[in-house]
Symmetry: C2
Subunit: 226 residues, 2 copies
Amino acid sequence: MANERPVTRRPGRPRAERPVLTRPAILEAALALVDEEGMEALSMRRLAARLRVDAMSIYHHLPNKAAIVSGLVEAVFATMPPTPAEGPWPDRVRAWARDYRDLALAHPHLVLQIVTDSAAASEATILISEPLYAALEDAGLTAPQIVVAAGTLVDFVNGYALALSPPAADAGAPEADPMGQRLAALGPDQVPAIRRVQAGLGGQSPSGADYFDACLDIIIRGVTPP
Amino acid sequence: MANERPVTRRPGRPRAERPVLTRPAILEAALALVDEEGMEALSMRRLAARLRVDAMSIYHHLPNKAAIVSGLVEAVFATMPPTPAEGPWPDRVRAWARDYRDLALAHPHLVLQIVTDSAAASEATILISEPLYAALEDAGLTAPQIVVAAGTLVDFVNGYALALSPPAADAGAPEADPMGQRLAALGPDQVPAIRRVQAGLGGQSPSGADYFDACLDIIIRGVTPP
DNA sequence: ACCTGAACACCGTTCAAGT
DNA sequence: ACCTGAACACCGTTCAAGT
């Protein structure tokens, strides 16, 4: 079951009108493969097997593996929903940040590439930033202030998404643990402030969407000049 | 010159008192290799060649490659300088964020692992966070507010460092371009707000340390409850 | 033009063999 | 205990060959 061998197919150009392989079909299969089995499962051979095709056939449509990954990132960025240009600017900034977070987390195994492969996606990055810039203009900021505010927000969401991305299945690394358990191993006097804060939480820390929104509030509050 | 072959060495336990291979020596060599040639140059065989040793010898000291990477991240976190617990809390938060940024950027090819491999480093992550928590306590925040503020800051610095990390030499991805050049290719009406901001900058955008400090100012300002 | 399959130069890791 | 070297199961990619 592990080795889904491609059916043997006679070499040569296929007779059918519809070509066997196309760039979109390859990217679609690659995205499904990554979503299901993670980034380390994306190899030319396994992708080809999924497409029931010889591994080398892919090179006729995409120059190399890096181009496949770039194509995936590009495709994901294209799914960013349009942010409406109405309403108070803080609401629009918040909506934009949530949309961008959702985009990044829609394909957990791809988060690293989305956040990292900025060269591949930088055109897309600029395109999706437009509503954010528009909202920050409405906040009455100067040009340099807008650049800084937008950068703060993007860097934060990138960092946030990255922290939630699944670990790369490193066998050598210890398992991810909730912070509480690690804390217990640390000795009571090494991290007194952290222990006090943990105690102050009473066992329940802000999590998920609440946490993200609270972080956003900090940045949005800080954006407004005093 | 590319293939620095290991000298042939008789198998068996070395006679010398000092063992040929130790965990620290392996990690030191691995860090040098990564710093000089990047993450993709870190292979068991190349690391072994640098240590003038058979590739498999390494497995007697570290269980696998993931453990080497985790060890590197751990070693880097250990270099975090102590933040003084004196002075106004905003200064201490700023100093902490700069130190953490410097730590992350000290080994550019390792940024991705530092920011990503949080499971491996989470004990170290907690340890270095202590002064940040202490400073935020002094700001008079409640426990949940401290958790949110610290998280915002850490996620931001992670995202910031990641954006500055060298691309993984993806041959298929287009070259990284300054934003201005990409903008030109985008058509004047697609991103009007971004174009207006670019024009407002007059060609000089805040960069480097100034940019980072300006971002920090936003977050620190937003942390203080109104 | 498009698909195939052998081949090359790498990987990480297991395992039996040396001392 | 520690180091070696062959071997296994993978990689990405090149290239000559098919139609």
